[in-house]
Symmetry: C2
Subunit: 303 residues, 2 copies
């Protein structure tokens, strides 16, 4: 079976539609990849592109993305609510099918080497591709943003993993890495008490003693008069959706509050939903090969 | 998006491996279809092939299947536990993606016309393609089997929908049709009382007052010392898995019996499992477009 990898580059343009179109078009015409989603935010002045493809297809497509972004985005004239370090701010690779995390780390390193050479651009590696513990966390690398980058990189501790030891004048730096698929999952509560949502968030999240691959915080849903436990699932294979849902339901019950619903934001791998069906239906000996669509994908890939 | 249809031809050979191989190979080399599964049963002396493809691909592939089966299967020398009417006993078409039931009925009629002409083979249409109410049910058409077919067809009521009014000497007749995807789903109970499994089966199945698209019976699992509610779900979209599971769980509780597990036999469309996740996780505004693999399939089909 052909290996399939996802990449979710975030680039620093969310307002000029002609520039966004040109960047996406440069990527789209690359063979061996598909553009699955594009989401641009004017307040953030930032776009998030979701790509899937073969390792070779993604390598070429991402090179096209870097060339197009560096040509048309000037960070010295960029403002937006979302923190950012460069024209292409961050680009993770994610194993989807028939690919390992190691494949994604290799892809990240190969892209980092080529991009730094072609554009004299400093590259930091993060998450599973990080060269040390501190760089695993994107927030640490991005702290100070584009404006503080020149000063930050004077410290040898912040020498880039690839490329020159000072920022690109208009494109800043970029962060490339490899990580597990991330699922954005929110659970809505039948109360307007943010305090309860916050307490439940604290009980389930890793930071404060909860589940290993859960980040969570309470959020107010003004238009509904309700609150939400807003969750980032950083490894849905090891910490599955249903375990989080059941834990939130149990914690909410303790406050006499019901779970009125949950929602998945953006894309979710089919496997994450199948795991929930497997749990609740108490399936015995279920394998992904029993899913018709997986059989189809395998047949298509073996042709 | 390209329309994708499934076909599950059942042919009357489950013992001679060289014959089975030759038949499957004749189908496999047809462009525009994929062989997803083959399951042969020696006791039944019968094989079930699962194909998926474009309408044109399946039409050609099924013509190849009929030619190969009629050439190498002689019903006058065939015995097996499973009832059968012909060399290719039954061939349903099932809408999977971007195809309607109407497309499948058209495909069934076009294949029936061509097969009857090429091989002087009587064809009966069943389920959604049936020409009258009685023929909707495969069991009615197949009653009397190959051995009784000559006599049965003397009655004008059993004139075929296509082809000659008497059986093919060695290939009998064939049944072609269109239906919803069928999911074979079993629920295992923590008791060895077949009586309880039978009572629960009766409570959930359509025949005796239960759910519209459920067929069910109690079955003994000798090796486990347990019993099973063995279910055919004839329309998982309208009668979903989770509703059947919850109903069986409730009925079992009334006898003080637990549901120890459930199992899906063979293939299941990913949508059927997603519906269970949607129900139990109380998802709000979930759409199939949020499933990464669906996005991929759409991107691949639009290329």
């Amino acid at each position: 079976m052909n290996s399939l990898i996802e990449s979710i580059p975030n680039f620093s343009e969310g307002r000029r539609q002609d520039v966004i179109d040109r960047i996406v078009e440069a990527v789209r015409k690359t063979p061996g990849l598909a553009v699955l989603d594009l989401s641009s935010d004017q307040n953030h002045n930032r776009s998030v592109l979701t790509l899937a493809g073969t390792p070779a297809g993604l390598h070429e497509g991402m090179l096209a993305l870097y060339a197009a972004c560096i040509e048309s985005i000037d960070l010295t004239r960029h403002s937006g609510e979302h923190p950012r370090l460069g024209a292409v701010d961050v680009a993770p690779f994610v194993p989807i099918r028939g690919a390992t995390m190691k494949d994604c780390v290799e892809l990240a390193r190969a892209l980092a080497a080529e991009v730094s050479k072609r554009h004299a651009l400093p590259v930091f590696l993060y998450e599973e591709a990080a060269s040390n513990e501190e760089r695993k966390n994107l927030a640490n690398i991005r702290k100070g943003e584009f404006e503080g980058l020149g000063e930050k990189m004077k410290d040898a501790k912040w020498a880039p993993d690839f490329g020159p030891s000072s920022p690109h004048p208009t494109a800043g730096a970029t962060v490339i890495g490899a990580r597990e698929p991330l699922v954005a999952y929110n659970i809505n509560l039948g109360t307007n008490s943010l305090e309860i949502a916050d307490k439940i968030s604290k009980s389930i999240r890793h930071l404060s003693g909860g589940l290993r691959f859960v980040k969570a915080m309470g959020v107010r849903l003004e238009d509904r008069g309700q609150v939400q436990v807003s969750i980032n699932m950083t490894n849905y294979r090891k910490t599955p959706l249903h375990r989080v849902f059941e834990m939130v339901k149990g914690e909410a019950e303790r406050y006499g509050v019901s779970v009125v619903g949950s929602e998945i934001v953006g894309l979710v791998p089919s496997e994450a939903l199948q795991a929930a069906a497997d749990f609740y239906l108490r399936l015995e000996n279920f394998t992904p090969e029993q899913v018709l669509e997986n059989r189809l994908a395998a047949a298509a890939a073996s042709e």
